[in-house]
């Protein structure tokens, strides 16, 4: 861990602790409103005190941003499938595997929409797929086929021998009417006044 990160975490923890302590003191009524008002007046009167407060605010914002970066960065690093090659390591972002599964919509015409969520666990790769199907689809046959396709595609393209667990959740079935309505909704052209004028 970098020194800056350690300093930032310590500083952030200290500030939050001080803030919490102040709130507890206020809640226990150990400080009178007059004392708070005196402190505020003192800090607002002097130019130096105001500069210090402003700078502290700036530092706090910067520390918060680095803290958020650290957390987001850690989350990003964790979301990968990794394997070692003779030249080094190869990591595949889980979002890349999700992209791969999303492309399968084109292969199976019965699927209207496909939303995958891939997780790498100790057991293997867990894939949760939410699908929207067309009405005339045989669901057991299609879901079984989809599971096979996803499994073989992941193992083929990603090249891992890990187990792939696929959960399929049919979230909606689009009826023919609904489909046709969306497809063939006639556009009503606005009538042009005197549009037919001059036609025989």
């Amino acid at each position: 861990m970098r020194i800056f990160t350690i300093i930032a975490i310590t500083f952030y923890a200290a500030v939050i602790t001080i803030l919490g302590t102040v709130m507890i003191i206020i809640s226990l009524n150990l400080v009178s409103p007059q004392m708070i008002s005196d402190v505020l007046l003192y800090t607002l009167e002097g130019v130096n005190a105001r500069i210090i407060i402003g700078l502290t605010g700036g530092v706090l914002i910067l520390v918060s941003i680095s803290f958020a970066q650290l957390i987001f960065g850690k989350f990003q690093r964790e979301k990968t499938i990794a394997f070692i090659t003779p030249s080094g390591e190869v990591t595949i972002a889980l979002s890349a595997v999700e992209d791969l599964i999303r492309r399968l919509v084109g292969i199976i015409p019965e699927i209207k929409e496909l939303r995958p969520d891939v997780k790498a666990t100790k057991k293997g790769i867990e894939v949760e797929v939410n699908i929207v199907l067309r009405a005339e689809t045989n669901i057991p046959e299609l879901t079984s086929r989809l599971q096979d396709i996803i499994k073989s595609k992941i193992q083929e393209v990603v090249g891992t021998d890990e187990d792939v667990f696929i959960k399929i959740h049919v979230i909606k079935i689009i009826t023919i009417d609904e489909r046709d309505k969306k497809r063939k909704e006639p556009e009503e052209k606005p009538a042009i006044p005197f549009g037919g004028y001059g036609k025989i």
């Binding site: 941003i65 958020a68 970066q69 987001f72 960065g73 990003q76 990968t80 394997f83 090659t85 030249s87 080094g88 390591e89 190869v90 990591t91 595949i92 972002a93 979002s95 890349a96 595997v97 992209d99 791969l100 492309r103 083929e156 393209v157 990603v158 090249g159």
Partner: protein, 117 residues
């Protein structure tokens, strides 16, 4: 860690990390199936909060003056990912060693996304 310095009769030759990153980038793009170096573009608050330069090639020198390279890539749909990653590693290793005489410790390929070719 500072880049390695080679002494000659006339002075010193230093190769900056960015040079190695550039060579690695070009060598990566030579491989068929690699769409681009980098990752999916982040927008809005995520681009502000996420890691600094997540889309760049990272190069660092170890204490033994070996090079460690981390390459984020986007692969075209339909290609075998391990094969492409292996070819990227081999080509980057070959090109960096050929052009700089530096020794490579390891090359990490991060596949960030898959896009239609």
């Amino acid at each position: 860690m500072q880049p390695e310095e080679t002494r000659t009769d006339l002075g010193a030759i230093r190769i900056h990390q960015n040079v190695i990153s550039s060579i690695a980038s070009l060598a990566t793009l030579d491989i068929e199936g690699v769409k681009r170096v980098g990752g999916p573009q982040r927008t809005g608050i995520m681009s502000f909060l996420s890691q600094k330069d997540p889309l760049k090639i990272k190069t660092e020198f170890t204490k033994k003056q070996e090079v460690r390279i981390e390459i984020p890539i986007v692969i075209a749909y339909g290609y075998h990912i391990p094969e492409i990653a292996q070819r990227v590693q081999d080509n980057v290793r070959h090109q960096v060693e050929r052009m700089t005489d530096l020794s490579i410790k390891d090359i990490t390929v991060n596949v960030q996304a898959i896009e239609k070719g």
